[in-house]
Subunit: 113 residues, 2 copies
């Protein structure tokens, strides 16, 4: 299962480190305790929407940019999971829907030609 | 302040309604109580990452797609807020940084010509 808080934590930590800031500096700016922020970055605690907004302000990065980064990271994990599932399934199950559709389209094109 | 849970709620409700499903049907599939799901859709409660994953599975929409929609909605609100702030500021404050930079660049080009 792809968990939002884990990838959000990754993105927030990576943004902070890109700015060369310590966890302590960021926590002072966002008015959040060091322990809590550390758990958020490690994906162990959920950040409330208010806290997420405060962290974005402290990082001087729009929330939309953070969410867009998280969406990209989630998409990568989803793709990796799909590949793993496909490897497990090969030979044991019928073709996935998209592949069946492609195959059916192929047949139609062939009979029309 | 742009709140993640409010725009997440909007996106989740809009996806559910696009599928012509009632709140009751979705709640049964996602194994979440009707009251809680209703509060999530109205942006009044935060959804845990596990629950968000369960809702996405019940909607048959990848989490990355939901997050990408939320990022777009947040970006729109941020832009609308920036416009409102600019209107308030007009005439009372110096030019914003980008405008000052553009003006400075213009000077350099003019003196080099």
């Amino acid at each position: 299962m792809v968990l939002f808080r884990r990838l959000l934590g990754d993105v927030l930590r990576s943004r902070r480190m890109d700015q060369g800031r310590t966890l302590r500096q960021l926590c002072a700016d966002a008015r959040v305790s060091l322990g809590y922020m550390s758990e958020i970055e490690r994906g162990q605690k959920e950040a409330s929407s208010e806290l997420l907004a405060a962290i974005c302000t402290a990082l001087d990065v729009p929330l939309s940019e953070i969410l867009s980064d998280v969406a990209d990271a989630v998409a990568l994990e989803e793709a990796a999971m799909a590949v793993r599932l496909e490897k497990v399934d090969i030979g044991s199950k019928p073709l996935p829907t998209a592949a069946r559709r492609a195959s059916a389209d192929g047949d139609v094109v062939a009979s029309a030609a």
